[in-house]
Symmetry: C2
Subunit: 453 residues, 2 copies
């Protein structure tokens, strides 16, 4: 069996009408979510440094840097939008592979949609959604063929497998034929890279950008009949054997048209490790429902899974990174703000007097029987009243996925400070009716910051 050729054939022969409604729905959510992450990440240092480095290389500035005013050529736009998608570590996750597919696939596809629009042949919303779904599928299926050995070995799978998905989506938007798609997958395979050693540095974000850009480049090259191996996935010196061990090649194409990986996709409601999610949800819920003022709180009593203190036990966090590892901060901040967004993890908020005072009042009791997505929260006031709630499964967990409304709220939280309200609403609306758009590049213009670069 030649998996590479089989995969290319499945990609090229796939039709938009083959995509089930539920898959299209999840793809619209995933695209909105990625756009939110990239807009929110667009002012972070990784993005600033990368943009400063590549700006001098930019070709015709056809493509949008999400959340900003600058434009770049399509390759570099895909790169920067991949970096920004990852920088807040707030992306989507395909649990079976730990791939964060949205940013890689989206960044490659959107840049090509803008290119097509500039060439007077816009990519419709239907075609964009279709390419996104298949690109997502390809990245995750390739990932499944080598996971978990590949990830344990030290490969950052979002980069290494993501590039295949980016190449597939880009190739579809360029309408590559089957042979060219084989080459695009091969050119992706032979650029596949990214080490987990980079976690904690800007180069982690680089992986997502380079995978998007490299996948796009693979499609551009294949479109000019630049050749590659036609067995790049399965050959003895191909991707799966060289970057994997005893790969499960069948995972690549099995039930390709009927078992869509995107239906397994998950999203983080809060910008920190998942063990803190039930705590934040409980505190925010009680605070909001009861209009609790920080000064009136006597004690916040938590019962949680033991991992909470093991992973997030920092008592006096000073930085954003430390605050994300502090249950004390998380509980105090969610109580003060009634929410747990990026805002509540900024240095300003961490050092806010109300938060500093309240985190001293957080008592944590861990209990082996509690689920990782479970928490019991009691907020006692100085006037003697107490409010209690029990979060059995935190929002965003497998048992309680985020609703469309939750996704929209997260998107608003990510973008409100950076885009005008009309554009925030416009993006939610446009993603919601993506299949009706004549030109998917509208998403890019709606995600552009106002003013001049």
């Amino acid at each position: 069996v030649n998996e590479t050729q089989q995969l290319a054939r499945l990609i090229v022969r796939s039709q938009p009408q083959d995509i089930p409604a539920a898959v299209g729905h999840e793809a619209r959510r995933c695209i909105l979510h990625w756009l939110g992450c990239s807009v929110a990440g667009s002012r972070q240092e990784s993005v600033q440094c990368a943009l400063a480095a590549v700006d001098e290389l930019s070709g015709p500035r056809l493509a949008t840097v999400l959340g900003r005013k600058e434009k770049l050529d399509v390759g570099h736009a895909a790169f920067i939008n991949g970096v920004s998608a990852d920088v807040l570590s707030f992306s989507d996750t395909h649990p079976a592979t730990l791939i964060h597919p949205g940013g890689v696939i989206g960044s490659a596809a959107l840049a090509l949609a803008e290119r097509a629009g500039a060439q007077g042949k816009p990519v419709s919303g239907v075609r964009f959604l279709h390419a996104f779904v298949i690109g997502f599928q390809v990245a995750c299926r390739v990932g499944l063929s080598v996971y978990p050995w590949h990830y344990r070995r030290g490969w950052h799978i979002t980069g290494t497998a993501g590039i295949f998905g980016a190449a597939a989506a880009a190739g579809m938007l360029m309408q590559l034929d089957e042979r060219q798609m084989v080459w695009a997958l091969g050119i992706a395979a032979t650029q596949s890279a990214g080490l987990r050693e980079m976690f904690g540095t800007m180069s982690k974000n680089l992986h997502i950008g380079r995978a998007a850009q490299g996948g796009l480049m693979a499609a551009l090259l294949a479109g000019k009949n630049f050749t590659s191996s036609e067995r790049s996935l399965e050959a003895p010196r191909g991707f799966a054997e060289v970057l994997g061990h005893a790969p499960d090649l069948a995972a690549i194409t099995a039930d390709f048209g009927s078992r869509h990986e995107i239906l397994q996709n998950t999203y983080k409601p809060f910008p920190c490790g998942v063990v803190l999610h039930p705590v934040i949800e409980g505190c925010a819920l009680l605070s909001t429902a009861n209009r609790i003022q920080a000064g009136t709180v006597r004690r916040i009593a938590l019962r949680c899974n033991p991992l909470v203190l093991e992973l997030t036990g920092i008592l006096s966090p000073a930085t954003t990174l430390e605050a994300k590892l502090s249950v004390y901060h998380a509980a105090a901040a969610a109580t003060v703000a009634g929410q747990g967004t990026l805002q509540e993890f900024t240095p300003e908020f961490i050092h806010h007097p109300d938060v500093l005072a309240l985190r001293e009042k957080v008592d944590v009791v861990v209990q082996a029987g509690m689920g990782e997505d479970e928490a019991d929260v009691t907020i006692e006031l100085v006037d003697g009243r107490a409010f209690h709630c029990h979060i059995e499964h935190a929002i965003g967990s497998a048992d309680r996925p985020m609703s469309d409304r939750d996704m929209q709220d997260k998107f608003r939280g990510l973008t409100a400070a950076l885009l005008p309200a009309s554009q925030v609403d416009g993006l939610i609306e446009a993603c919601g009716r993506l299949e009706t758009l004549d030109d998917a590049a509208q998403l890019a213009s709606l995600a552009t910051a106002r003013g001049t670069a």
Copy 2:
């Protein structure tokens, strides 16, 4: 020991005056040789396709596409010049790692020299040579740390290790500080890619281009303080452990300043497998010395190492690739032409009546005792005369490296059809006195084809 930081320190602290004269001499030869390969390769299909794909992405066209009229931004020029360096499989080889370093290091360094010139701060020949020597050293040392397991596993080491050398050379020309150099090496590490499965396709050439471009990109990013791991070579999830097995980390920095890998570099005199080299040399020598006309030959009798028939036994080659695997063609062609250049492996030459007639007259006897670089050649004429020579060690073998004159002849053979004679002479002259150049980018302008793009 932290190898990455140690290596960065060695790179940054190295001074041009630390480079021994013999090392500088070999670097000048290597640079001339690479320029010849890239110019000669510049019209091949890999280059045409790649150029067609990236042209639309090009930023400011500051940099030369060697051997052609087009210009590209520095990143894409490094890419294309890397592709052209490799496309004829005629490059230099570092025998201990099988890396072909010249094209990767040269392409990155030359593009940055052109950038510097455009910014009014030209890179002197002294600095260029220095960066080239150190970049060469870094690529080979990183390669040594993982060879041979890495290569056997399926990694195309010219790409995977080459990118470190390109990053080092580029970083030196950008005058990165030590910390930035650590990051540049890390950004190189996490882009390191290239599968041997691509051999026989254009994507093999891609590896050299992407390594040059990726190394240059690593230096540009690091120059803007884009961070990476500071242990990218040695960490458990770093380059050597993930892409290698039981790596020899000490090889990276041991005797870095005194044991120069470039002194081991080798060059092919003829554009085919080395087992044919003594045959071609012998036939060309007899033909030239005795002004032999093809029509006057009765028989060409060869005694060779058994590998000759094993690897190059094709009787009636029809294509360039087949001709390179045919001792019959090689002997006939070298006798007809008095040389064995690219010209003698073109389809036109392969089907030339004199060559077709003569290859029927080639008799090959293999003999176990003959060296791989040895051949015994007798050309018998119809008039009864016979000429004989014995090649004990073919030119280009370890025992008989190509002289400077041989290198110049090869360079002329590579470039004569594509550049005006004045530029061919100019390049030989400029490489010969590289340390006296005020602006190393002169090499690029001398290697530009005439006319408009």
